[in-house]
Symmetry: C2
Subunit: 465 residues, 2 copies
């Protein structure tokens, strides 16, 4: 492969953009809402449509059944060199509240936004059909110009990412030998750092989610008849929650930070260079004071520090008015975000021990686990990461940055755990894309440059630089 080839493929992307857009629109018209059983046929139709496209590009593609919606698996022509496994999802979120959409969510519209930027408006335009199609259209351009692909490409496209995704890990287990043949996983479901700066996410926090239910009395009690003598589980729960944080904002579980390493000075310097605006970040949420650990920057806390959050709590009477009850039970949903090195099982055990030690002897506690996954870190000196960064920098003519993410993308953990693959998270979405919300959009520039970026990434992998 020559750089003449690369230029030709990029030119092909530009020339074929209208066709790429038409195909994206065709996919967006399919109502593949995975969480609603009424749209199961539409999910199948989306999978079949993609299979048709991929087979047309020389892939060996099929919509493989699962207990839920199908997983599309496709393998491109055998090519020497690295083998990539691309992941995206073809299902979308529901469209409620429908009355807040300005146009039909399943009739994509190309229009100018308030800043004069071209955008494509539809459910799934950004999350994740638009992002998925950047990769497929990049493959199409390579095929059109060279009759093949620069590297061996496989795809695994999920239909249940928006509805729990519980069938994917068993599917990966069942097809482990086939899927683990790849060298690196690519996921296109993330944002750029900003409109001018491409980025690759290399640190994803892990998650331990647990539900705690505390039972004191054997029935709800009258707070007049029992108040001050009978144990109130709301009070017990509140005291436990309060005990999870020290006055300096750190999490108090014994050993919580034992396996947490400080980030490297190089990464720290790079993050400081990002010019992250803490005030603006918090301000967008209506806040002005950072919470959490004292003496840690917001970015550091979000990307490289573990946390404990009370995602939900309930106990007693919570309807209108007032009821003087001492409830029998109170419960909370509590999650821990983990960073590299932390063991989810160890954290869950430390948490449960901490709670159990604080349950009065005549009360009881029940735990319900809600999943756990370790943090993911892609080695900063990995060759695929470096090659992808170079490719992205070339497209935007600006150094691509390495970012962390406070969130957890379970599929990245599964790539590592089940298939032994590192994952590069490369995406072209923007924070204002309104994913999961009415009037979801994708910038036409995200779509166009996203295709071009994948063309370059594949070229970079092929060239080994």
């Amino acid at each position: 492969m020559t750089s003449a080839n690369l230029d030709a493929v990029l030119a092909q992307v530009d020339a074929g953009l209208d066709g790429s857009l038409e195909r994206l629109k065709a996919l967006l018209r399919i109502k593949s809402i995975s969480t609603d059983p009424a749209f199961a046929q539409e999910c199948q139709r989306a999978a079949d449509w993609i299979v048709g496209e991929l087979n047309g590009l020389g892939f060996d593609a099929a919509a493989r059944p699962t207990p839920g919606h199908p997983v599309v698996v496709a393998h491109g022509p055998d090519v020497a060199g690295p083998h990539v496994l691309f992941y995206a999802h073809y299902d979308v979120q529901p469209v409620d509240p429908l009355n807040l959409w300005h146009t039909d969510p399943f009739e994509p519209v190309l229009k100018d936004d308030a800043q004069g930027r071209k955008i494509i408006v539809a459910r799934g335009a950004s999350d994740d059909k638009g992002q998925m199609m950047t990769f497929i259209e990049a493959c199409r351009a390579w095929q059109a110009v060279t009759g093949s692909l620069p590297v061996k490409v496989s795809l695994m496209l999920e239909g249940e990412e928006e509805s729990g995704g519980k069938n994917l890990p068993p599917f990966m287990e069942a097809n482990k030998a086939e899927l683990a043949a790849a060298d690196i996983a690519l996921v296109c479901d993330t944002d750029m750092w900003d409109r001018q700066t491409p980025s690759i996410t290399t640190m994803l926090r892990g998650l331990v989610a647990d539900e705690v239910e505390i039972t004191c009395a054997n029935k709800d009690l009258h707070s007049g008849m029992f108040g001050n003598a009978a144990r109130n589980p709301n009070q017990v729960l509140a005291e436990i929650i309060a005990s999870l944080r020290a006055p300096d904002g750190s999490v108090t579980l014994p050993g919580f930070y034992d396996d947490v390493a400080e980030i490297s000075p190089e990464l720290k310097a790079q993050w400081e260079g990002l010019g992250f605006d803490e005030k603006a970040f918090l301000g967008e949420a209506g806040l002005s004071l950072k919470a959490g650990e004292a003496n840690r920057s917001v970015l550091e806390m979000l990307w490289s520090r573990p946390t404990c959050e009370i995602n939900g709590m309930i106990g007693g009477y919570t309807g209108d008015g007032f009821k003087t009850v001492i409830p029998a039970k109170a419960s909370a949903k509590i999650s821990f975000r983990l960073v590299s090195g932390m063991d989810p099982a160890k954290i869950r055990a430390a948490f449960r021990r901490h709670v159990e030690e604080r349950i009065p002897a005549d009360c009881s506690v029940k735990f319900t686990p809600h999943g756990g996954s370790p943090a993911i870190t892609v080695p900063a000196d990995g060759k695929y990461l470096q090659q992808a960064l170079t490719a992205l920098s070339g497209e935007w003519n600006k150094p691509a940055v390495i970012t962390g993410s406070g969130g957890s993308i379970p599929v990245a953990g599964d790539f590592k755990k089940i298939l032994g693959l590192d994952t590069l998270l490369i995406g072209f979405a923007h924070v204002d894309d309104a994913i999961h919300s009415p009037n979801e959009k994708y910038d036409l520039e995200s779509f166009h440059r996203g295709i071009r970026a994948w063309v370059r990434v594949l070229a970079g992998f092929a060239a080994g630089k």
Copy 2:
């Protein structure tokens, strides 16, 4: 009035018991469920039925309209000496779940219970039609024997006690001059201490109820994207709740105990003599350890110590499964039970100050008051109390006891606040009467001796001893 009179009236009660029972049954057949608009006519019918009975006994009685169900007000013949105002309520709780009733809730049945005691089974048998009728039948016996009553008697019978009772205080305000002419209020809506021991409740705790809503961010946030940097109102609320109790179980609000007096050594000795079984009391609720203040007995905590209870709390996602959200808001319903001397307004202010001091500067708090009433204490050396104790002791041939109650009976507060009257709470119900539950019953002995007890109480008031 002579003691020969008293004996004759008691004999009349015994002789007329069958007729008294028939009248109670007639009232129990009226479906006066106040909370359900479908039964509004039945409530009116119950009021009218009572008015008919009272007018037949020489009272000047009427069912007076309110914005809800009527209040029955009746005045007996003018008699020199003390003037009593009797309160009870003619409305009843709904009967759901109907399938758990062994007989029709509105077709009263006289039967033997498992211990061979005669009971009357019907909705309202105990709460409060049976108790109400003890007083009316006592008046009937006096009328039958003496052609009058031993003291001036007025009655105020409510039809909305089981549905909030919000129309009664304005009614009392509007008819203040008429009702405040009485010297003492009598309420028949409480239990005996046990089957052998009559009791009068002289201490009722007051109540301050407040709702707290804490707002941090301007919208729900993703706990991955914001966790550890954005303030979590669940955490803020839990820390505030935890801060309300000291390790020794006392309430931490500044000044909370300033106006709380220790009970007199005499009362303390009497309570200790009651043989209250803490273990059995807690055990019935499935508990074995007392909560609350260290070094205080359960009875002391329930009757003579203030408390703070978290009646409800909610924040974030509380449905099935898990959602990694940092909610914008969290709220709690918190109440304080007050004892004599404590000012509800002062406690509410201290509570709000305590909360406000713990709200981070970029978060806010909103309070919604849900009522406040001071504690009620009837002076232990009051003459009506002493006369009533003597009367009850005579009927049961065992010293009547003075008890407190952890609960709040708002009408007693209103008698004091609006009419300036102390209240004697005298009732003949038992804890196993299943009030508000299926198969509600009243012991025939409660009904019979209750009538006889009121005959004696009125005689005692008339005699001034």
